[in-house]
Symmetry: C2
Subunit: 220 residues, 2 copies
């Protein structure tokens, strides 16, 4: 039986490993809101259980077993988020914290039935892919809005920032999942991006654009 805390560590390490191969102690500490010394303690425990490979001072990587466990938690997190949005009418900026709790409920049966009840969704309210029961999922092929050139277009299919403030902001701008956009200009001065969405011309800061993920129609 894996503890609530162990599960959180595994998930955080998994997400950090998407960026850098070797995950550092301080990075984990920051994410998990704890001190580096505590992280070292927990890492030793996870290594003891063969969930991570650990070389002193060199950071950690998840073992196959650890990766499986982490993906399983990610699966639960995202399925619960779908449930909250699709069935309980939560907004996409309101679901993360509750899902953080729900993802630790233990029953396998529960999550399989929930998956079925939701119609086996492929992605969560933020466009992130939902692993199937074997932990498999298609690697998403999104590009950042900031990588588009003037004249390029595509569909908003994800976000790389899940803070409530950011998501609320996008909602207000009408930049939700599925919307078609086209880049009409990029301001030299501050790098802000002018885009065309649902017939309107709007300007968004580079900071915002950076976290909007686009799937191009393959036409560019």
């Amino acid at each position: 039986m894996r503890s609530f805390t162990e599960e959180n560590y595994l998930k955080i390490i998994y997400h950090l490993a998407e960026k850098t191969n070797n995950v550092q102690t301080n990075a984990i500490a920051e994410q998990i809101q704890t001190k580096p010394a505590s992280v070292t303690d927990m890492i030793k425990k996870l290594a003891e259980k063969d969930l991570v490979d650990y070389v002193k001072y060199q950071g950690v990587t998840l073992t196959e077993k650890g990766k499986q466990a982490a993906v399983d938690i990610v699966r639960k997190h995202r399925l619960w988020e779908v449930f909250l949005v699709d069935k309980l009418n939560f907004k996409w900026d309101e679901v993360h914290d509750v899902a953080e709790e729900l993802e630790h409920i233990k029953s396998v049966d529960l999550i399989e039935r929930l998956d079925e009840f939701l119609g086996f969704p492929k992605s969560d309210p933020h466009g992130d892919p939902i692993p199937d029961k074997h932990g498999r999922f298609a690697k998403t092929q999104f590009i950042k809005l900031t990588e588009l050139k003037i004249g390029d277009g595509g569909t908003i299919t994800g976000v790389s920032q899940h803070s409530s403030a950011f998501l609320k902001h996008l909602e207000k701008l009408g930049l939700t999942l599925g919307k078609q956009i086209e880049v009409s200009d990029v301001t030299d001065f501050d790098g802000s991006v002018e885009i065309l969405v649902t017939g309107k011309q709007i300007n968004i800061s580079r900071e915002v654009a950076k976290h909007i993920l686009i799937s191009t129609n393959g036409k560019n």
Copy 2:
């Protein structure tokens, strides 16, 4: 913020208090699967937080505040059970353990929306009443099947035993919530009860009959 453990103690004390006014240390220990010494420690903590009234060697009673907290957990437990049965097609004997975990999820918003999603159910899959958001609920007026006399009838509206074994047994006998029954005989030898249900005559042990709750039609 109340811990998982504190919540479990409050709920157990609440349920025990339905039987006896002053709840004893050993009774709590048995229910919570721990040792009396541990219970004493926790009781002191709960008393410190004004959740229970405690007199050494005299057991505990919930304060108004403690009762509120306990009823809130019971509400969550029962709503989740309804969700599992109505939406995820769990059987009534499969839901208790998962609900034990789900009842500790913290968001108030979540539970209000879940309540609405389920259509504000008044009772759970075992016939137990679901408190509303203010903790109010009608006191159920069931009688035990064993209290019926020969010729008396009524509707099965609850059970006072939630073990999977018991519930599966009832299911097999066709004794589920809502079924009309009538007592046709009581065996002198072992006190077993012969009942008429959906046209069939069946015999159930006194032990089983004791845990079946009946609402009479007021005709007796």
